[in-house]
């Protein structure tokens, strides 16, 4: 193994890993439950749109809901059975609210859908066709964020990709699903990586793994074939939370700092999770859409912490049972890791595509006895912030609801890693304030855009009224002239003129009516084009909307 050079990123924490407890036994498949609950939104972007109806029989891998517009992902049936309902169900989301889901009653046959066919000669496909296959397989980032993968495989015409990085850092304590995947299925990851490389036309690939996972590093290294070693390198990175943050890992592996508020592709880098690479492999080489994933079920409240291969839609309670959870001991049930995950209100919610870990924490007297105190400006939070922000100032302005100032202090560079809140001696839930501020700002943006639209509509209407008034005056003037002329002639001519005027009015009215009919229901194509334009605008605003604040 040639040693990889690594760079260190600012801030961060040395945390207890608690990883060994859940890597003691190999990954086992969790049984398919009688009911699978599939939220229509398991990813960033628009919820998928159902294409099945209640009562319909479905097979494993069949599309249940299609992607809606560009930023979206389809949802597939994780097993065969019957669609029992399409209805609101509690979903895993910090808000604890319910959202539309497709519920499948499984039949135990696990019959695959005939459309699921492998595509081993993917190299013959051009990148855009390949991306489409990946899109249709419903693959989203499995590292936690759930951004549709095909979009991140599309660097766009303006960017060449030099380096494709696979993120196997898995820096959060307790989580080991990527570790186990790398240990047990390194070839799937490498094959997936090669497919991604083809789509991106990347020059070289790096797989970054924290050096607390020697087994995974050895497995990947051992699985590399001789001819792959020129383009793919497996690189240990020092264990330090959050080494798996996208920008932190890129810095650690390449020494390049992705510019504030920009995407990694700006510096010629694209970063995907190792689990996503394995999912891409399965979609291409086995024709399997994303219907299952590895989930770590762990924590002090589990008798048997372990990793399970779980069908998407399986209730969390099933996993707790498989890990021997002492449910009554659980004081906090977290989906995701302890640093960035969120608490679940119920174990009835399903596992979704982005669920990497179910963490059962038991009673912790420290937390109970930790009252929030005022900020003493000790600056600890700034010392550990990997984004080099000033969390205490962000907190101050977020609390004062000064949304301009909070953006001046680069709120949108905050990756919500939680380092600041972890070290804060005053126990201020800092990240909660940042999320709140972000949500507020997004809401304001939306309102503003709506208001802009309304204002424009209002202006259009005023213009139209003005124009119509002028047209009406013009018509009346002409009518009067006509009548005046007619009065001069004989009665027959007058009648004829009146008749003609009436006819003109009737024709015009008919014409107007027809036009109105044409305007109202837009064609499907028009609607889609409009929606796409709107989506692009939204993304633009989301990605670069703060640029005018940077200048300060």
């Amino acid at each position: 193994m040639t040693a990889c050079r690594t760079w260190s990123f600012p801030g961060g924490l040395a945390l207890d890993g608690h990883k060994a407890v859940s890597t003691r036994e190999p990954v086992a498949a969790a049984p398919v439950p009688p009911l699978l609950v599939l939220p229509l939104q398991q990813h960033i972007g628009n919820p998928a749109v159902p294409v099945v109806e209640a009562g319909q029989r479905v097979a494993r891998g069949q599309v249940l809901a299609r992607a809606d517009e560009y930023v979206s992902a389809p949802v597939h049936a994780p097993s065969s059975g019957t669609v029992a309902a399409i209805e609101e169900r509690p979903v895993p989301h910090p808000s604890g609210l319910a959202a539309p889901c497709i519920v499948i009653e499984t039949d135990g046959e696990d019959r695959p859908h005939p459309d699921c066919r492998p595509l081993p000669d993917y190299e013959a496909l051009d990148p855009s066709a390949l991306r489409n296959v990946i899109r249709e397989a419903g693959i989203v980032g499995l590292g936690g964020a759930g951004f549709p993968t095909f979009i991140k495989l599309n660097p766009g015409p303006d960017h060449a990709v030099d380096t494709l990085i696979l993120n196997g850092a898995e820096c959060e304590p307790w989580i080991t699903c990527d570790d186990m995947l790398m240990r047990e299925r390194p070839r799937e990851i490498i094959e997936g990586l090669k497919i991604m490389r083809h789509a991106l036309r990347a020059r070289r690939c790096l797989i970054g793994v924290e050096d607390n996972k020697p087994e995974a590093l050895a497995a990947l290294e051992g699985a590399l074939e001789a001819d792959e070693r020129d383009i793919i390198r497996v690189c240990p990175v020092p264990t330090r939370y959050p080494a798996g943050g996208e920008k932190q890992l890129i810095l650690a592996l390449t020494g390049k700092a992705v510019p504030s508020q920009k995407l990694p592709v700006e510096v010629g880098i694209v970063c995907h999770n190792v689990g996503t690479a394995a999912a891409v492999y399965r979609a291409i080489h086995r024709g399997e859409p994303l219907v299952s994933r590895l989930v770590t079920v762990t924590g002090p409240a589990m008798e048997r912490p372990r990793n399970l291969e779980v069908r998407v839609g399986t209730p969390v309670s099933d996993l707790l049972a498989l890990a021997g959870a002492r449910t009554t001991d659980i004081t906090e049930l977290v989906m995701g890791g302890p640093m960035m995950g969120f608490e679940l209100a119920s174990d009835a919610v399903p596992v979704i595509k982005t669920t990497n870990c179910i963490l059962g924490l038991d009673h912790d007297p420290h937390r109970q006895a930790a009252p929030v105190r005022p900020c003493i400006r000790c600056g600890e939070c700034a010392r550990v912030c990997p984004a080099k922000l000033l969390p205490q100032e962000l907190y101050w302005f977020a609390r004062a609801r000064d949304m301009d100032k909070v953006q001046d202090f680069h709120l949108f560079d905050c990756i919500e890693c939680g380092c600041c809140a972890y070290v804060c001696p005053s126990h201020i839930p800092l990240v909660q304030y940042y999320r709140f501020a972000k949500t507020q700002i997004w809401a304001q943006e939306k309102e503003r855009r709506k208001a802009d639209l309304a204002r424009r509509r209002h202006e259009f209407r005023l213009q139209r009224l003005e124009r119509e008034k002028r047209e009406k005056e013009e018509r009346q003037r002409r009518k009067k002239e006509l009548l005046k002329k007619a009065r001069g002639g004989d009665e027959a001519a007058k009648q004829a003129a009146i008749q003609a005027a009436l006819e003109r009015v009737k024709a015009r009215r008919e014409q107007q009516h027809a036009r109105a009919r044409n305007v109202e229901p837009r064609t499907e194509a028009q609607r889609k084009a409009l929606a796409e334009a709107e989506e692009r605008r939204r993304r633009l605003a989301g990605d670069g909307g703060e640029s005018d604040d940077d200048a300060v």
Binding site: S260, G379, E393, H410, Y422, S426, V431, Q432, R435
Partner: protein, 345 residues
């Protein structure tokens, strides 16, 4: 099964708390305090006790009036630290109302009238000290000679409460100016530094004042422990002592007869106490890493200026208060560049 989400991420037990920080500071004060009590008698401890009792009572009273929970505030130890620092800065033989007035002002006005912990712009202990220095200059510069002045605890308590000394003793006979004060006066009279120091072996030791060098050395030790525990930011003491030392060195090299040597400055008065314990009060100091260097350097420079050319023998309190005022500006101009922010923007 249902659960009750209460916490936002992170879901780990917090790494520390304010109370633990403050008690670590108290622990770090112990060696220097012991030295001060050794050289200047039990009055040091009596003052600190007066200050601590006043601070806790004032804190509880104000929080009670503001309808805020009292217990966590007392438990966080911040009022106690304020009190101990003020107590340590006072002369060892003073009437009880001096520490009580100073501490009450520090806690009630300098801390709570500005909004309480975390909101006060001025270091409460130094605000209290400055008030006393301005209002009671005579009491505030009368120190006992090193070597306890022959008063035992009973005599000190008696003086503190009743204001009377044992028969035959007078305050003027017992007390004298500090080495810093003495040297300043002597230089003002045109005497060369070396001669002034040599003429008072009871006051001046090889590095600092007699006793004072020990006290400063032990506060330095406690301070270094705080840095090692990462409880105080290293930038402030480093910049403050560095600036004070370099300025002293420069002037001393220029004219050793008129300027005290750098080690004398570093090991006299409240130099070490100020650098490690007073200037590092997080609430009133700059919070950015570069800002802390500026802040510390500013205090060191002001301290040297006040000691050398100003009207007061020691400058820690005024230097800290002046730099407190500059903190918002310093913080504004020393914001760190965020991750990935382009150079030179």
């Amino acid at each position: 099964m249902r659960f009750e989400p209460r916490h936002s991420s992170p879901h780990l037990a917090p790494a520390g708390n304010v109370g633990r920080l403050m008690f670590a500071v108290v622990a770090a004060l112990v060696p220097g305090t012991a030295a001060a009590a050794w050289f200047f008698g039990p009055g040091v401890l009596v003052n600190m006790a007066w200050c601590a009792a006043t601070a806790l009572a004032a804190e509880a009273a104000v929080l009670g009036l503001r309808h805020r929970p009292v217990r966590p505030a007392l438990a966080d130890g911040s009022a106690l630290v304020t009190a101990l620092l003020l107590g340590l800065a006072l002369p060892p033989l003073v009437p009880w109302w001096l520490p009580v007035t100073g501490t009450a002002f520090a806690v009630i006005v300098a801390k709570h009238l500005y909004g309480g912990l975390g909101y006060n712009p001025f270091n409460p202990a130094m605000a209290g000290y400055a008030l006393l220095l301005v209002s009671f200059p005579r009491e505030m510069v009368a120190w006992l000679p090193p070597g306890d002045g022959g008063l035992d605890l009973a005599a000190v308590l008696h003086y503190s409460l009743a204001g009377t000394l044992p028969p035959g003793a007078t305050l003027d006979a017992l007390t004298q100016a500090t080495p810093l004060d003495t040297l300043r006066t002597q230089i003002g009279l045109g005497r060369p530094v070396a001669e002034a120091m040599a003429s008072r072996p009871d006051l001046f030791a090889r590095v600092g004042g007699v006793g004072w060098a020990w006290i400063n050395g032990l506060f330095l030790l406690g301070g270094l422990w705080l840095l090692w525990r990462r409880i105080a930011a290293w930038q402030i003491p480093a910049a403050m002592l560095g600036t004070l030392g370099l300025l002293a060195l420069g002037f001393w090299l220029l004219d050793p007869a008129r300027y005290a040597p750098p080690l004398f400055h570093l090991f006299s008065g409240a130099a070490m106490l100020g650098a490690f314990f007073i200037a590092t009060d997080p609430v009133t100091a700059s919070t950015t890493p570069r800002g802390r260097l500026v802040y510390g350097a500013g205090i060191g420079a002001l301290m040297y200026v006040i000691r050398t050319w100003g009207g007061y023998p020691d400058g820690v309190a005024f230097a800290v208060l002046l730099m407190n005022m500059a903190v918002p500006t310093i913080d504004h101009y020393t914001r760190p560049r965020v991750f990935g922010e382009e150079q030179g923007r």
